[in-house]
């Protein structure tokens, strides 16, 4: 029975590390997220929580900068050999927590494991192979010309191959990825990242300590010890910050924004996010939705600014398309079009003047204010005689209903794993095709082969400017056809004590680079 609190995880790393800690890492940070990582195996699940853990305990080859550019991390430099291969130069002298040296065999081990992982294999589908040139240079090869190679490279966090090979005492393979069991990797961790996990009690507490041998000396981070406590209830989490129990919390619910602004010794940081929230109108279930005029009428009836201002308390950016600003597909010209008169007029033209009744479903604990947004939308539709029977469900019950498409209008939010517009269309607007997996979340059964073809072409277009023009054209067509009803991009918010300088380490993907955090 493992001793719980004091179990030193990946302890060998600390034991062998030289005693002299870098002088300036002395501060302690107490933080609270709404959930703690479900496992230490960063390939077991593709979720925000696991990626946040990866950035604390591992380092990617390249990582996103604040303005969606790329920053060299473990890959010192890279250059494109031809339109299907990219050569990377690995940084030298980087140590793992276990003391092993980072070499290309670790990158290969990680690449193979990613190809095995159920969650990550879809993202790495375009990759055909990895060539090892020598200890510190390797090449990534794709089957087709793939413009998003670097985007995907941000998901490669080299793992300590030696540490994760061989078998455990009771004969289990150390590198196994177990979804529901207890694998070696889910409890032990050795990465190159700034922090080592010193103790963990699932759902209660997690402690990290600064890795003495961290390769990135220039990192300004001076936090020696981090204690992470998951606090599920929004109210309690905000109270914990205000009562001084913790120094840094995320996420911050929109309702508590001004309470934190008013508090003199805490600081609030908000950023517009990249997760789009939208409604699908199921054309197969409701005859009227087949008519573009009716879809446009609904688009005109929904007041995105009102929802963003009143329900989200200004904590969301009203949207008229899928791609957020900064994405290649973002089309400046598309603006939210709230106009109840025009909506009524369109309904009259489409012959549905006295409206009809539809069912609507939304989750109540998946996205920020999801149930309140659905209620507001239902009220807005009632103004153009569309009577809505709304049902909100907890997320565990909601997704099976979503897969069965059991309501006429359904709410969904989507964040592009590749931080690129194409991902939105592939999952949300492509004609649904079971075996290729396209349009898996297209609850509107919207199908426009022309637009799908345009996106396919963009996917193999390596000239970024041309690619951007194509993607923006796709957004325009979807807008004109009112394929779905976009609402807003959910903003991100973090809050901390005044002396904890979180602003520089935060980014739009919500992966705080805690390694570089400075606490005065």
């Amino acid at each position: 029975m493992k001793k719980l609190l004091a179990a030193l995880v990946g302890s060998m790393a600390l034991a062998t590390a030289p005693v002299a800690l870098s002088a300036e890492a002395t501060k302690e940070l107490k933080m609270a997220y709404d959930a703690d990582p479900v496992t230490l195996d960063i390939h077991e699940q593709l979720s925000g929580g696991i990626l946040q853990l990866s950035h604390m305990t591992f380092d990617p080859l390249v990582r996103w900068t604040k303005d969606l550019g790329f920053e060299a991390r473990l890959a010192e430099s890279w250059e494109r050999v031809d339109d299907k291969t990219m050569r990377f130069k690995l940084r030298e002298g980087v140590k793992f927590h276990s003391g092993n040296e980072l070499t290309t065999k670790d990158v290969k081990f990680t690449y193979d494991r990613l190809k095995e992982s159920q969650d990550f294999k879809a993202i790495f589908k375009p990759f055909s192979g990895i060539n090892i040139i020598d200890d510190y240079t390797f090449e990534l090869v794709t089957s087709e010309p793939f413009p998003l190679l670097l985007n995907t490279a941000t998901y490669i966090f080299p793992m300590d191959s030696e540490f994760y090979s061989g078998e455990t005492a009771d004969g289990k393979k150390k590198d196994a990825i177990l979804k529901h069991g207890n694998s070696f990797a889910s409890d032990n961790l050795s990465g190159t990242g700034p922090y080592v996990v010193t103790s963990r009690q699932q759902g209660v507490r997690m402690e990290f300590e600064r890795f003495a041998d961290y390769w990135d000396e220039e990192s300004p981070g001076n936090v020696k010890k981090i204690v992470l406590t998951p606090i599920k209830e929004n109210n309690t989490r905000v109270s914990a910050l205000l009562s001084g129990g913790v120094d840094f919390i995320a996420p911050v619910p929109p309702t508590d924004l001004d309470r934190i602004k008013r508090d003199k010794d805490s600081e609030l940081v908000t950023m517009s996010g990249t997760r789009i929230i939208l409604f699908h109108m199921n054309q197969e279930r409701v005859e009227a939705f087949k008519n573009p005029k009716v879809r446009q009428a609904i688009a005109y009836a929904i007041n995105q600014e009102g929802i963003a201002a009143k329900i989200m308390k200004g904590f969301a950016t009203p949207a008229a398309q899928l791609s957020p600003a900064g994405y290649q597909g973002h089309n400046e010209s598309l603006k939210p079009r709230y106009d109840v008169e025009k909506a009524r007029q369109l309904m009259k033209e489409a012959g549905y003047e006295d409206g009809f009744t539809i069912t609507m479903m939304a989750p109540n604990n998946r996205y920020v204010n999801d149930d309140k947004i659905a209620q507001a939308a239902a009220a807005m539709l009632a103004r153009i005689n569309i009577k809505v029977d709304l049902k909100t469900l907890p997320k565990a019950q909601y997704w099976p209903e979503y897969d069965d498409r059991s309501a006429d209008m359904m709410l969904i939010g989507w964040h592009a794993d590749t931080e690129d517009s194409a991902n939105f269309y592939e999952f949300l607007t492509f004609c649904t095709d079971a075996d290729s997996g396209a349009g898996q979340y297209n609850a509107g059964n919207y199908c426009n082969p022309e637009i799908d073809a345009l996106v396919e072409k963009a996917n193999v277009e390596t000239d970024l400017d041309k690619r951007a023009a194509m993607l923006q054209d796709v957004e325009k067509r979807l807008y004109d056809d009112a394929a779905f009803v976009p609402l807003h991009w959910q903003d991100l918010a973090w809050a901390s004590k005044k002396n904890v300088k979180i602003e520089p380490i935060l980014n739009v993907m919500n992966f705080p680079y805690l390694g570089d955090l400075v606490v005065e």
């Binding site: 109270s239 009102g306 309140k372 209620q375 239902a378 009220a379 807005m380 709304l390 049902k391």
Partner: protein
């Protein structure tokens, strides 16, 4: 002065019940407040300025307006508006109606089951008694919350999700009724055991009455007083249980809020400025339950013969 055959009304006026009610100020005030609330709830459509169930009347733009008297208030919404822009006053009136409906409905169900099983267990005794009491024990080990989850799941499995809106009230009455009948059953059983020893029961047996006639015509009237007392407390409990279930998201849906789900929906806003969304319905809930409890207390002291001498 032989006791003339007084009419039922005179007998009531003469009875100790009316006498002690007149003298107990707390009971009078509680009774009046309760009647006021019940009337307001029953005639909600008349009093409520807007119909909270008609979505068209709700405008998102005037959400979270403070009650009149605070700056930024809007006279059209005396008690302010909730996060959706619904008028608090009318939503509370409808909400009180839902909560009262659930409270009384659940207790009627509890009483029916409780009296039936309590009488059977108490009067027949032996195997019937132990079986019923074991069922009661198993039932008690399920808290209201678990019953709610289980019954909720069964309803969803059988009716699917879309029907949930309309049948939510009946389902909640069913849940709270099922979860709490053992409380009344135990009380009835205890008083039946006490009554069973009395001579009038033997007299009835001697006269050859059938068992259930004895149980319902003779024993039951004598056990009414504890039932009354516990029933009032159970109504208060039922309303609070519904509020608790709503807090966990298992109560009434947002479109047809009860007091509990109103409090829940306002819960996120309580510490961040618009405290009234939770506190005003919370206040109404506390007053409603308080009044019922006070009446329950008074009824207990009046109905309980042993305390009468004290």
């Amino acid at each position: 002065m032989t006791t003339a055959t007084l009419s039922r009304w005179n007998r009531f006026r003469e009875s100790f019940l009316w006498y002690s009610f007149r003298r107990d100020k707390v009971a009078i005030v509680s009774f009046l407040v309760l009647i006021l609330m019940v009337l307001a709830a029953v005639f909600a459509p008349l009093f409520a300025p807007t119909d909270p169930y008609d979505l068209a009347q709700i405008d998102i733009m005037n959400s979270e307006l403070p009650p009149v008297g605070m700056q930024g208030a809007d006279s059209a919404f005396p008690l302010g508006t909730d996060a959706q822009g619904r008028d608090m006053l009318s939503t509370i009136l409808y909400g009180t109606r839902v909560s009262l409906l659930i409270g009384f409905g659940a207790v009627v169900l509890q009483a029916a089951l409780g009296i039936l099983f309590g009488l059977l267990a108490g009067y027949l005794g032996g195997r019937v008694d132990s079986i019923l009491m074991r069922i009661a024990d198993v039932q008690l080990s399920f808290s209201t919350l678990m019953v709610a989850i289980i019954v909720g799941a069964v309803f969803k499995a059988s009716f699917g999700n879309l029907m949930f809106g309309e049948i939510a009230i009946y389902m909640l009455i069913f849940i709270i009724g099922i979860a709490e009948w053992p409380q009344i059953a135990r009380t009835v059983r205890a008083s039946v055991l006490a009554e069973k020893k009395k001579e009038y029961v033997d007299a009835a047996k001697v006269m050859g009455f059938r068992t259930n006639r004895i149980m319902f015509r003779h024993i039951l009237p004598n056990t009414l007083s504890p039932i009354f007392v516990i029933a009032t407390v159970q109504i208060a409990n039922a309303i609070i249980s519904e509020a608790a279930l709503s807090f966990l998201g298992l109560g009434m849906p947002e479109t047809q809020p009860s007091l509990g789900s109103l409090i829940k929906s306002g819960f996120d806003y309580i510490q961040s400025g618009s405290w009234w969304i939770t506190l005003i319905p919370g206040l109404v809930l506390v007053v409603l339950v308080l009044v019922i409890n006070l009446l329950g207390d008074w009824l207990r002291d009046v109905m309980n013969p042993r305390l009468y001498k004290g």
